[in-house]
């Protein structure tokens, strides 16, 4: 379970001007549920991910991941959380297997437990072929899979996936979607940040529309369409966000 209540985050911008990246955002995600965070660039999706991942500290409000408050127990939060960040950040001289080894150790995994988990993920994401090749010349799809496997290494109960299928080919995107569906079936709590509306509609149980750091609307795809009085999530988004200039992929 992830619960966010009146969560705000502001940064000091140029000339000490306050920039409100997230403004009093509230929503919750249950176990076995996939929530889609939708919004144009700069809506605050990545900041929310970073706040939940305890990499940033909230300016106001609260957030809980599982049983842990992000302010009080950041280490415990990180232990139950798997994060696929916006930028994969792979070490180009390390192989996928070495990445998984390294991050497994960061989660205090050792011995056969770690080895078995690495083999399981390599096979699950169809990475065996390039598991022992340095990541330097990997395609977007290959890199994305390594980053995803890295987020899943400790079998976390909560997942934050920032643009998990961005730039992937059809086959790879399908594999990732299957993985997310499987996580839901296993009772994991998943937040997917995306601006690909068709994917959000297909994958997510509920959607949260964000704009300028605020929640504009929240509900199931059907509820959001009803609320906006339109037939598609894309139209619902444009109507509820009230902007035509946003960059979305249907």
């Amino acid at each position: 379970m992830i619960e966010i209540e009146n969560l705000s985050k502001d940064f000091r911008g140029k000339r000490f001007k306050k920039v409100q990246a997230v403004n009093s955002v509230s929503f919750s995600v249950g176990d076995g549920e996939v929530l889609g965070l939708l919004g144009p660039n700069g809506a605050g999706k990545t900041t929310i991910m970073r706040l939940l991942g305890t990499v940033l500290k909230p300016s106001d409000g609260s957030a809980r991941v599982g049983d842990f408050d992000v302010r009080q127990y950041p280490n415990d939060v990180r232990r139950v959380l798997g994060v696929l960040p916006e930028y994969w950040g792979l070490y180009e001289r390390f192989t996928p297997r070495e990445h998984l080894h390294l991050f497994g150790k960061f989660y205090r995994m050792r011995g056969p437990t770690l080895e078995n988990r690495i083999d399981e993920l390599l096979s699950l994401l169809d990475m065996d072929e390039y598991a022992d090749r340095p990541c330097k010349r990997f395609s977007k799809g290959m890199s994305q899979k390594v980053a995803l496997a890295r987020a899943l290494i400790h079998d976390p109960s909560h997942l934050l996936l920032d643009e998990p299928t961005a730039g992937l080919d059809v086959m790879s995107a399908r594999q990732v979607r299957t993985l997310i569906t499987r996580a839901r079936e296993e009772g994991k709590c998943v937040i997917v940040s995306t601006h690909i509306l068709s994917e959000a509609e297909r994958l997510c149980d509920r959607l949260v529309f964000l704009d300028h750091g605020q929640v504009v609307a929240e509900g199931t795809p059907t509820e959001l369409c009803q609320q906006a009085g339109v037939d598609s999530v894309e139209d619902a988004f444009l109507t509820l966000v009230g902007r035509e200039d946003v960059e979305l992929v249907a």
């Binding site: 940033l56 280490n75 960040p85 070490y91 960061f106």
Partner: protein
């Protein structure tokens, strides 16, 4: 602790896998550096050997005024004489390295006891011109011979013109004398290299991680910022230690190469008995330096005194390179540290007469330099060393805390 080692292993193996950098470092340490030391020495020795051993030829203006001197040069100094009208012109045209101008009536004036001046013309733009020394020595030897003849003619003793001699004695012990030479250079070199050797690693593992966007995924894991900084700090220190080890090996290789060159010097020109420095000649310098001795305890304390300063330097480098947006910016901030290290080396030379008080030993870096100097000259006091160690450790801990604090500030981590 195991997490710190995991971070250390990750940082170290990442650097070791940078093949280009690794190969370049190995080539520099084990080929270029020794070669840089040995090659000029070998060249200099070859050239000097040739200049000293071969028969030299010089132009002389006015040979007819000094037939005895000309014979002396040929017979005793192996110098061939070529008669000419204009010595300077020939030297300016680079046909010869040096020559003589003999004034009219040279030998007659000497015989009558009149003062006479012989002109030695050389091209002093050639710094490696050994001929000048060779000619001077030959002329002085000829003059001494004449002087001895004159003294004999008047039945005077050889030291008639030397009423007294000056004998120099060193009041300092041999360890103090040699230690003072060593303390002029060694602390500065150790600290300057120690502080700059870790810089590249500090930048790569901090500003570089921000730049390559590899830091954020680590921040999402339960690794604490303290563990992360300590792992990176260990990696930087490992790099510094590896640098010192390779530098040590490099110096050993250079010395071996130098000794080989000295022993093989005869083969350069096909001569075997030439007047160039032999390994024994270096040993003859020993009386000047005295017999230097340093206790094993002082050596251990010297090495230990470096560690807190290296920790301090590495932590400051980590803090600064974490704050920097990227590697270029980090190098921009850190390069002046190299300059400061060079200044330290100069400060040491100016500090020779400085008598420190106990509190001086608590000044960061400066206190360490003073302690190193004391240890090398064998004049160390336990109280001063304790003050230096405690103060240096406190500064190092403060610097590590600064680096950890930097890692806890989101505006620093996401400052890109």
């Amino acid at each position: 602790m195991s997490i710190i080692w995991t971070v250390w292993r990750k940082e170290t193996s990442e650097v070791l896998r940078d093949r280009r950098r690794l190969v370049w470092n190995l080539v520099t340490a084990f080929i270029l550096m020794p070669l840089l030391f040995v090659a000029p020495t070998a060249f200099l020795l070859m050239r000097t050997t040739r200049q000293l051993s071969n028969t030299a030829t010089i132009p002389v203006q006015g040979t007819q005024y000094a037939p005895a001197l000309m014979t002396y040069l040929k017979m005793e100094a192996d110098i061939e004489v070529v008669e000419t009208e204009d010595v300077e012109a020939l030297i300016r045209e680079k046909q010869f390295m040096g020559g003589l101008i003999v004034p009219p009536g040279f030998e007659e004036k000497i015989e009558s006891g009149e003062a006479v001046t012989l002109q030695l013309v050389t091209d002093q733009s050639k710094s490696m011109n050994v001929l000048r020394t060779r000619l001077l020595e030959a002329l002085e030897s000829y003059r001494d011979g004449l002087l001895a003849e004159r003294l004999q003619a008047y039945d005077l003793p050889d030291d008639f013109l030397q009423p007294f001699r000056v004998e120099q004695r060193n009041a300092a012990t041999a360890t103090e004398t040699t230690g003072s030479y060593l303390s002029l250079l060694l602390p500065g070199i150790v600290l300057a290299f120690g502080l700059s050797a870790g810089m590249q690693m500090a930048v790569t593992t901090n500003a570089g991680e921000k730049e390559r966007l590899t830091l954020e995924p680590v921040l999402f894991t339960p690794v604490s910022r303290t563990q992360l900084v300590l792992g990176k700090l260990l990696a930087v220190l490992t790099n510094v230690i590896a640098f010192f080890v390779s530098m040590g090996l490099s110096i050993i290789l250079a010395v071996i190469g130098f000794v080989l060159v000295l022993f093989a010097r005869g083969s350069f020109s096909g001569v075997t008995s030439v007047d160039v420095p032999s390994p024994d000649a270096f040993a003859s310098m020993a009386p000047q330096m005295g017999t230097y001795s340093i206790s094993p305890l002082a050596v251990v304390l010297f090495l230990f005194s470096v560690i807190p300063v290296l920790l301090l330097g590495a932590s400051i480098q980590i803090a600064i390179s974490t704050w920097a947006r990227n590697s270029d910016e980090a190098y921009g901030y850190l390069n002046p540290i190299n300059f400061l290290s060079t200044l330290l080396m100069f400060a040491l030379i100016l500090m020779e007469d400085f008598v420190p008080k106990l509190w001086h030993y608590s000044i960061p870096i400066f206190g360490t330099i003073l302690s190193m100097r004391d240890l090398l000259t064998g004049k160390w006091q336990p109280a001063a060393l304790i003050i230096m160690f405690i103060a240096s450790l406190v500064y190092a801990v403060l610097a590590i805390s600064l680096a950890v604090w930097m890692y806890r500030r989101e505006e620093v981590l996401f400052r890109t």
